[in-house]
Amino acid sequence: MKNFYEIRLSGSGGQGLITMGMIMGEAAALFDHKYVVQTQSYGPEARGGACKAELIISNSRVNNPKPITVDILLTLSQPAYDKYIPDVKPGGIVIIDSSLVKYKKGKGVYPLPITTFAEKDIGLKVTANVVALGIICSLTKVVSYNALERALLNRIPPGTENINKKALSFGKSLKFKDNI
């Protein structure tokens, strides 16, 4: 387990990436007691095709708030994939929604049909971001599951607890093989 992670969650506006970033950040900062800085796209960019939320999770004080290259990249849309794939550090992890994105295979590339899972297995397409959170959690261990679940449950609208919990644990339970 490294003690410094730069993470980019990317996709298009409306996929809940910024919410994901806030939940992950809150979980790591408040419940895992890490040093965390989270930033995100603003304005027209946030509503457009390649929107992002970024996190730096570290065991010591974070200086630069905005990652330039990343250890973990999540992409939920084609424009975001195309734009951000060059920024992945050697040995980095790329998680791709293969139901939406055409991608290049490689070491550390994890394609999963995240949106299809959300639609078929959870029964609600908008939970794709929560499924993705579960995937990041189990694949990277950058944030603990308990912390993530606590932060998630504090943020979602009342009445949606069960479906969100289901989506998170579903994401966590997936088995991965990187795509070489």
Partner: protein, 391 residues
């Protein structure tokens, strides 16, 4: 609709994972904010949104005015009734606020103006970082006027300096500008809010004189006259014209000079109390990086990385920008040979630093003004290049 939650830690302190903007308003509530007027502008909009939601919960009032000019006027008006007031804006809006900011300076009306700096000039780069308004904060309104400006580098410092801004405003009877920047305003970090007993809150200094004898600009109490509320038994007149002690317009040269001298003296004579700064590893430093606002983070990163390579780097962070305190610079350790001033503008505060450092030392600016944040690697690379040139 709030995008953050507040939790309680073991000591009962509020904690949360907040943006600089959100933390700013939460801290203002701790400081006693009761009135906020604003106008939507990126990247400060979240401050107004949180104010609209939270102020009425705690007996305060929020209004979205028709423009920046009126927002500034409204907080001055509200402050006259004894309330702690604030507005928040960004570059283009800060330009419009200058008119009534000058009014508040002349009439010594306490209020806090947050300027979340973005790229300029003009509409500039609405969602990108800059520190281009440093000189505007001091000189933006016409005529010589006193100003206090503070600049935080982390979300926790936003909390600290927002409370400090309200305290300075009330203590010195002067507007205070909180110069944030897009980076610190929009990034989220873990914040611990102080408990009430851990926070010093300064309230307005009231007078005990007979209402008939009260003068709003009375000099017999020192340079900071006691300030009474509209609506109390103290009735008085204030004007944007140069005024006498009663507040009545005057053009008598001595009265004009005395007034201007006093409103500047009340700040300048307290520069040491107003001057907040931090020094990091400056004791043995040969190279000093001076910065303020969010770039301080990168300077610290560059310092840590540089020290690992054997470079004796120290960092001086200015939390108070105005009034500018020359003493910090005249008392710098003599080992310092090189000074680098890191700013996200074309070189503004460096002019003041160059002005006050009399001894022979190499002073250079490291400036970035392309809308992007400056990284620690960029700073370190620059320092290494400079070192290479000399050796």
């Amino acid at each position: 609709m709030l995008f953050y939650k507040l939790y309680k830690d073991e000591q009962g302190r509020k904690v949360g994972f907040l943006q600089g903007n959100e933390a700013c308003l939460e801290a203002a509530l701790i400081a006693g904010l009761k009135f906020f007027a604003g106008y939507p502008i990126t990247p400060s909009s979240e401050i107004a949104a949180v104010a609209a939601e939270k102020l009425p919960m705690y007996g305060g009032r929020f209004i979205q005015m028709e423009d920046e000019l009126s927002s500034m006027a409204a907080i001055v008006g509200a402050s006259m009734t004894g309330k702690k007031t604030m507005t928040a804006t960004s570059g283009p809006g800060f330009s419009l606020k200058q008119e009534n900011l000058g009014y508040a300076c002349l009439n010594e009306v306490p209020c806090v103006i947050v300027n979340v700096q973005r790229g300029g000039p003009s509409t500039g780069l609405p969602t990108q970082v800059s520190q281009g308004d440093v000189m505007q904060a001091k000189w933006g309104s016409h005529g010589d006027h006193p100003i206090i400006a503070l600049s935080p580098s982390s979300v926790q410092e936003v909390v600290e300096l927002t409370i400090q801004a309200f305290n300075f405003a009330e203590q010195y009877r002067n507007p205070v500008v909180l110069l944030m920047d897009e980076t610190v305003a929009h990034m989220r970090e873990k914040i611990v809010f102080p408990l009430a007993e851990e926070t010093e809150i300064i309230n307005r200094h009231h007078s005990e004189v007979d209402p008939q004898k009260y003068k709003p600009f009375d000099t017999s109490f020192g340079d900071i006259p006691p300030f009474e509320n509209f609506g109390s038994e103290y009735r008085y007149f204030i004007t944007g014209l140069i005024h006498d002690e009663y507040g009545y317009p005057t053009t008598k040269p001595l009265e004009v000079k005395n007034l201007l001298d006093r409103i500047h003296r009340k700040i300048n004579d307290h520069t040491q109390q107003l001057s907040l700064f931090e020094q990091y590893q400056t004791e043995d430093a040969e190279t000093l990086i001076i910065s303020y606002g969010s770039p301080v983070r990168s300077c610290l990163g560059a310092m840590e990385a540089g020290r690992k390579k054997g470079m004796k780097i120290g960092v001086l962070q200015l939390k108070t920008i105005w009034p500018f305190n020359p003493e910090i610079f005249t008392k710098l350790p003599s080992k310092i040979k090189n000074i680098y001033v890191v700013e996200l503008n074309m070189g503004q505060l460096i002019l003041e630093i160059e002005r006050v450092i009399k001894r022979k030392v190499n002073i250079q600016g490291i400036n970035k003004y392309d809308g992007l944040f400056i990284s620690d690697q960029e700073i370190l690379k620059y320092l290494e290049q400079q070192q290479g040139k000399k050796s």
